[in-house]
Symmetry: C3
Subunit: 153 residues, 3 copies
């Protein structure tokens, strides 16, 4: 099953790849590597999840926010690669959780992104991860996600 077929099976329609919120690009390619800019949980032009985990948002909302960031990242990868079948490997994700004092469940939140990459891309979706708690996030977003992928032509 292709990534596009898997997305359909999951009921996910990729959005237009979100524009940058500053003087930069949403993705760039060097050699066989695609880097996305930090993806926020945009949904139809609005941030769907704002505030802090451990204060304003529960774990399930954090999981959904990370999943939404991943959907936007996949939209960037589709724009960058032309066809998601050209994504050979999701190499690395950097997950940033907007964390209130005392919040330590970053892994459970970021599994919202990791589970989606694994589901959509199968073995090609397996990736490394760095998980960090951020005190103040751009635009008060709940989660931010950057992705590095290997592409083949």
């Amino acid at each position: 099953m292709t990534a596009a077929e898997k997305l359909r099976e999951l009921g996910i329609t990729l959005p237009a790849a979100p524009a940058a919120v500053g003087a930069y690009l949403p993705w760039a390619r060097t050699g066989n590597l695609i880097f996305t800019s930090g993806q926020l949980p945009w949904l139809e032009g609005k941030l769907a999840y704002t505030g802090k985990l451990g204060a304003d948002l529960g774990l399930d909302q954090g999981y959904q926010a990370a999943r939404l960031c991943a959907i936007n990242a996949i939209a960037q990868l589709a724009a960058a690669a032309g066809d998601l079948e050209r994504i050979r490997q999701i190499v690395r994700i950097e997950g940033y959780v907007h964390a209130a004092p005392g919040f330590h469940d970053h892994p459970k939140v970021l599994n919202g992104a990791s589970d989606l990459f694994n589901a959509v891309f199968g073995p090609r979706g397996q990736h490394t991860r760095t998980a960090l708690g951020i005190n103040e996030m751009p635009l008060d977003a709940a989660v931010q996600l950057s992705v590095l992928a290997e592409v083949v032509d």
Copy 2:
């Protein structure tokens, strides 16, 4: 216009590439990629901007701090590549903003770096970006910036 000419037009004299503040290198190259270490807003051997955005520093100071980090990063790229014309692409910048509680205008701060890369390198300066708020920064610096660039020989 070359990057060096553009720097002159902007009235910018590149400093000596700042040394590392620990047991590490200011830049490294692997294949065609140059990674800089995190650059701080050093000016003539002193940190020009310390403290937190949203408490100690205003937006314009943050913008200038990010711009100064970018100038130091360009000095590192010049040292690494020998000639800035060998920089084929600024691939990625990671911008870290020393943020007081409630500060969310990271993009406006980091445009101080992005605008400079775009001005100096033109299309080659267009890059991806990740923007994060940091609660406590090394040496109390206002901004930190890491850069990944592609080089050609």
Copy 3:
């Protein structure tokens, strides 16, 4: 002296490469680059250092925590490369310090990792570094470390 010999001289026995704490891989390779996931200060299955620098832990404990993260990262590199002699260069480390308000000595903490890479790998261990203070760390870990290395076959 090989890296393995140097580890023995330092009295360090590499642990089994720690498993990921979520739906991701502990390391991935793309081309000649190996990325590790964020490494925590695991020791025999438990986090040896939790809490915040500047509140719960002193500088020497932070240094030891960073060193332990580096030992775990070297275990990942050994698993990824098969033989540490195939590590051509430690290109970059990203060091994240769990920081209480007012803590700014990140460089001294992260030298615990940098010093070890330099000692074990010699010139091949010299690396770039980004140092950040994190308000809330996954699992309350004191330090987190991600490593990018170049490998040769």
